[in-house]
């Protein structure tokens, strides 16, 4: 049996980090330094724990006794995988925070370093405790209250008070729903393990089971951000917290909601037996997921505040995961071997989205650090002054848009290809797949806007008073770290699919056991889906990249074939004007007809307020746009 020493060491480091921040008080440089070192250490131990569990192929189960209360703890393959993700993201954010808080006022920094370790400890708890009672409550409250404070301290109180409070209220509502749901199981004892809850559920009848699942869907859905619950708090919270914290919120906090949904629908529900109707719940998840991904992404397109844009787009991306979970349930119910493939896609996308969305929030943080504005209307042409940040932003934007040879492509391929193949006789699945494909173009539009108008184009040089420089190395290294992982996710799909397979094999009580993913074959360059001897679908990021590069060299040869020279000229505006701050193409004009067309999807208010100009609003709402 594998030990849990690493987990305890990790929690001990977090506790030390909290104490250090408390004791060192106003010596803010030292607080940042010790905090960074101790939290990084904790991340290291956490990753170690995850690797040990996956390496040994054995879940760890134990029971904690705290003042007479029993808390069941279970670290299986799935927890280990999410713990790995948490350790990577927490490390990236912590390292970024070190440089980011250098210029922040002392009072805030000290408080942030008090809350950050508690927040991470809460997340660790959520991924490891195995009940819906005392253990869950402890972990959830640590997570909710610390992140509430972090959000509150992210901006001047006048701006942050409301979104932070809204966040806390919804988190507490989710807590009530989740802990309350378990009481529907007949003979439930506060503190029963999840497996026990599942078993007790089987004796409590279909109605109780249905209400139980509805409450949990709402509870974890609030956290994950399914439509319309996500819209209530996510945009406010993610854009208010300071970017390294938002990176954790979007990267892993949201994913613990996905983790919860998986635990409920693919583990606990299995125990419920006849009371659980996989067909119905699969359909519910598909419909909810499709709505979430479509509405979230369309709303993202309307934002000029790039942090809000990233927040709405997080809602959209989570929609893909929920959709895939639903279609996996439906495929399983119809006995299709594709269930395992779609499920693997959902987990893969959780990992991918964790990484590239964190990278995007850190990019957002770098933009905020370097320019002081969160308004895309005031940016433009930053690639020339911030080349490294720009390049990393391009990678993240490319990946989240799911363009060929990116990590997003591989995971979306697993989910959508699987969905189409499994659902060729199902109207619902086919339509959901089409909406997912349709929405991919919206995602692309969001990030063309984000990258195109911040880093290419022109404008920041005229519209901002300060001189813009590339962010210091301490803000670049964590981004490069995440970018490297993002690239590995794109080009080593076989490795990640095996990792996910291993984590599921190390997990007991999994609904899809037996269907596995025998139709999915891995090869060094990619993945293939077979049905018998027939190849149904294939993806190979390396081959795609090679093809693209070879043809790009052909194009380059063609361009040089007549020995053409290049000359630098000013932009041509019909000869009447030079390009200046009055005629540059600003963000609010982008896609204006489309925004009008999709007005009914909501989130049309597009006013950006920067921290240093509380009174006046810079972004004007859809006034005098050029289409």
């Amino acid at each position: 049996m594998t030990g849990t020493e690493a987990l305890w060491l990790s929690l001990a480091s977090l506790l030390l980090s909290f104490l250090a921040a408390f004791l060192l008080g106003k010596k803010v440089r030292l607080v940042r330094l010790t905090g960074t070192i101790l939290i990084s250490l904790a991340c290291f131990f956490l990753a170690w724990q995850g690797v040990m569990i996956l390496g040994a192929g054995q879940p760890v189960e134990l029971e904690l006794k705290l003042a007479g209360i029993h808390i069941p703890v279970l670290i299986d393959g799935l927890s280990a995988l999410f713990l790995l993700l948490l350790s990577v993201l927490a490390l990236g954010s912590t390292l970024f925070a070190y440089g980011y808080y250098e210029t922040t006022e002392t009072k805030i920094v000290q408080k942030v370093y008090l809350a950050l370790p508690v927040f991470i400890a809460g997340l660790v708890g959520l991924l490891t405790v195995d009940d819906l009672g005392p253990g869950f409550t402890l972990a959830w409250q640590l997570m909710a209250i610390s992140s509430y404070l972090l959000i509150r301290w992210g901006r001047p109180l006048k701006l942050s008070g409301r979104p932070a409070l809204v966040y806390l209220v919804f988190m507490e509502m989710a807590w009530v729903l989740i802990t309350g749901s378990a009481f529907l199981a007949k003979g439930y004892h506060f503190g029963d393990s999840l497996a026990a809850v599942g078993q007790k559920l089987s004796g409590s009848g279909p109605v109780a089971t249905a209400i139980f699942l509805v409450m949990l869907l709402l509870g974890f859905g609030l956290k994950t951000g399914i439509f319309p619950l996500g819209q209530l708090w996510i945009p406010g919270a993610y854009s208010t917290a300071s970017p390294p914290v938002s990176a954790l919120l979007a990267g892993i906090l949201e994913k613990t909601g996905v983790f919860g949904l998986i635990r409920i629908f693919f583990f606990v529900a299995r125990g419920a037996g006849a009371g659980f109707n996989p067909d119905l719940w699969g359909q519910v998840l598909v419909v909810v997921g499709t709505l979430t991904l479509f509405v979230g992404t369309v709303q993202a397109i309307k934002q000029s505040d790039y942090l809000r844009l990233l927040a709405y787009s997080s809602i959209g991306q989570v929609g893909y995961i929920v959709l895939a979970l639903g279609s996996s349930l439906l495929a399983w119910h119809s006995g299709s071997p594709l269930a395992g493939i779609i499920f693997a896609g959902a987990v893969y996308h959780s990992l991918n989205h964790g990484i590239f969305k964190s990278l995007l929030f850190l990019t957002g943080g770098s933009l905020l650090y370097a320019t002081g504005t969160r308004d895309l209307n005031r940016l433009g042409g930053l690639l020339a002054v911030m080349p490294v940040t720009g390049l990393l932003a391009a990678l993240a934007s490319y990946s989240i848009s799911g363009m060929p040879a990116s990590s997003g492509f591989v995971s979306k391929w697993l989910m959508i290809a699987g969905n189409f193949l499994a659902g060729k006789d199902s109207l619902l699945l086919t339509m959901a797949g089409i909406v997912a494909l349709f929405t991919a173009a919206f995602t692309l539009a969001c990030y063309v806007k984000f990258f195109g108008l911040a880093f290419t184009s022109a404008g920041a040089g005229w519209k901002l008073k300060r001189e813009i420089r590339e962010v210091p190395g301490s803000l670049l290294v964590p981004k490069i770290f995440l970018a490297a992982i993002c690239l590995s996710q794109a080009f080593l799909p076989a490795v990640y699919v095996r990792l996910i397979g291993r984590s599921l094999a190390t997990t007991e009580g999994f609904l899809l056991t037996g269907v596995g993913a025998e139709g999915l074959k891995t090869n060094p360059i990619g993945l293939q889906i077979f049905e018998g001897p027939a190849l149904l679908a294939a993806v190979a990021p390396l081959a795609m990249l090679a093809l693209l590069l070879v043809l790009a060299f052909l194009a380059r040869w063609l361009r040089q074939s007549a020995g053409a020279q290049e000359a630098r000229v000013p932009a041509w505006l019909c000869g009447y004007q030079d390009l200046n701050k009055n005629n540059v193409y600003a963000d609010r004009n982008m896609f204006s007809d489309l925004k009008k067309f999709f007005r009914w999807t909501g989130a049309n208010k597009n006013v950006v307020i920067d921290d240093d100009e509380l009174s006046e609003s810079v972004g004007r709402e859809e006034k005098g746009v050029i289409s």
């Binding site: 060929p404 189409f420 290419t456 679908a537 294939a538 993806v539 020279q565 000359a567 193409y585």
Partner: protein, 299 residues
Amino acid sequence: MKVTAVIINLLYFLALAPFLEGVMRKVTARIQSRQGPPLYQPYLDLLKLLGKENLNAAGHPVFRLAPLLAFASVLSAVALLPLAGQSSFLAHSSDLMTLIYFLTLSGFFILIGALASGNPFAGVGASREMMTIIMLEPVLAMTLILGVVRAGSLNLLAATGGVSSARGLSYFLMMAVYLVALQAFVSRQPFDIPEAEVEILEGPYIEYSGPNYALFRYTLNLKRMFYSWLFVAGFLGFWLPGSPVLNLAIQTVLILVLFVLISVVGATHPRFRMDQALKFYAVLVLLSLVAVGLGVRGW
């Protein structure tokens, strides 16, 4: 042998795409009672542009990379095609999602190149181009998905074959929608809104000149040919005789016919405004949704 098949794909498209533009210009000219340039004029235009100077308004590497990658992406899509009813060598590592995304990718690079130029006209063009991609790509995707529903496979040969494997209500509805959408796919009037030369001066391409512009022109020609090819291979694929050479000859003739049709429509219709076009596209999207729905139900 297998790699040569990919090269044949590329050569076929590269050789024929400018000629089709020649056809389009000739037909348009005849409708407007003009003589029109010779059919080989687009080849001359490309050669001429390759010999000119590259003007760079941005100074970004992005501005320089965009035309190369736009061209490469659309050619990558072409390399995957099961031309003349023969599965591509690359079919083992690609499927129709790869194809759809490569096409989107070429649009993406056009947009990024346009935004990189910093010119507000290019910005307007890029914004319109992206809106067009969003609203039109689903029609292309759904045509192929109709094939997927029938064939139960995402393999390109199976899926394009699947489109016309059963010719029921869904087939005819999708064919009608695709035919209307084709005019927009090839961005001819009434749907040449992103370029709209008399209004926003070729939009995304305004700052591009010389060899860079030649690459964009070529990209556009290849894309036009691709969409026409897909119509022919998808909807009319069922009566191909089987021999690859004969298949290819028939496909070529059909593509030519299609281009004459596109030119006639283009020469006789004024341009839509963007908001009008969006509503038009939305109807097309809904109709193709209905078509796929009918396909799933087996009609």
